[in-house]
Symmetry: C2
Subunit: 210 residues, 2 copies
Amino acid sequence: MPKPDNRRDEILHEASKLFAAKGISSTTVREIGDAVGMLSGSLYHHFPSKDAMVTEIINGYLDDLQARYARVAALNLAPIERLETLILESFKSVELDPEACEIYQNEYNYLRTIPALSNLGQRAKEIQNAWIDTLEEGAARGIFRPDIDAPVCYRFIGNAIWPTARWPRAGRSTPIDHLVRECTTLFMRGLELNPAPFTVDGATTRAASV
Amino acid sequence: MPKPDNRRDEILHEASKLFAAKGISSTTVREIGDAVGMLSGSLYHHFPSKDAMVTEIINGYLDDLQARYARVAALNLAPIERLETLILESFKSVELDPEACEIYQNEYNYLRTIPALSNLGQRAKEIQNAWIDTLEEGAARGIFRPDIDAPVCYRFIGNAIWPTARWPRAGRSTPIDHLVRECTTLFMRGLELNPAPFTVDGATTRAASV
DNA sequence: GTCTATAACCGGATAGAC
DNA sequence: GTCTATCCGGTTATAGAC
């Protein structure tokens, strides 16, 4: 919840910070009241329950993210550019509301139990498909390696991006363009300076056994 | 906690599953008692508090992980092999005790507040350094790209690996060697089949603006 | 080693005054 | 729109019987 301009948004903003820092169920309505300067009972004038606050925070976050992905899809970019734009927009959404992102990542299991968030699984699937479609198209067109497992690759990429919301002052101490550049280069060309030429059966691990 | 062989380990095992699935603070001692077939009061014969259970679960997990990394360090491998071995051993530790891994990832902030776990920050730093040292050595020796930001790269790699503990039946439906291979290939050579030859200033993003 | 019973407390939520 | 006062159920933890 960026830039609260009224009492209600201020409550959501403070609640976000507490939920992200301590978890939803260990944050008490009394703490939320303290943070915003009112007594817990007064919160119930603005929201019917604690879970209603959570619901608004998460819906706002997902609305923004899905709107970004819809704009990316509308550009009809080639796979490389599309993937890099998804990375960029994902980092931007993390920067816009890191607390909401963190809550979504940390407490997905709990969020699924909130009746008002029953569409969560569907929304998660839509987000996932934006990535998987791009990866699969790139592999099919010979732009990405043909041996990639698109769903698994997406999860590695997603796992890399979303938890940056937890990083100490993410996107502030480390400027967001630096993160975007590191992430993009890492996933596009990898760590090795001069990898051996790609062959279909070449993807084996060189790990030693301990 | 794999393979409980006594009542005490059984309690830890069931508690692990509940903490991982619902979070620590929303898991009640009554639920733990139910899961193990005793009343909540009886748990206190085995453990002085709920946090004491958490402490043992986390210490066991970190003991295993750090022992693995120590064995890797003792092999004195070259950067590529060392990094790939760290990846492999990390996946093995996730597979050995996914619940503990999940708790550690999900509730790091809360764990830090448990007095008996006051060394958590130090241990996290040691784990991190195993990776960063490898990345920096590889970059210095011209084996990895010279432009990598080692701490940031580590966090992307770690972020990719640890949350696999949360994946539906991680390491079961998807065999662990498949995950290791995908992860290793992804980070070593990236997604692109034929990336442009590396130049120092070439690491720019091709993302479109939405 | 487990059970019963209970202490002492804290949680979300409500009702009505101002 | 906020405060006071309170309800009630759930929470960890304890004490002592078996």
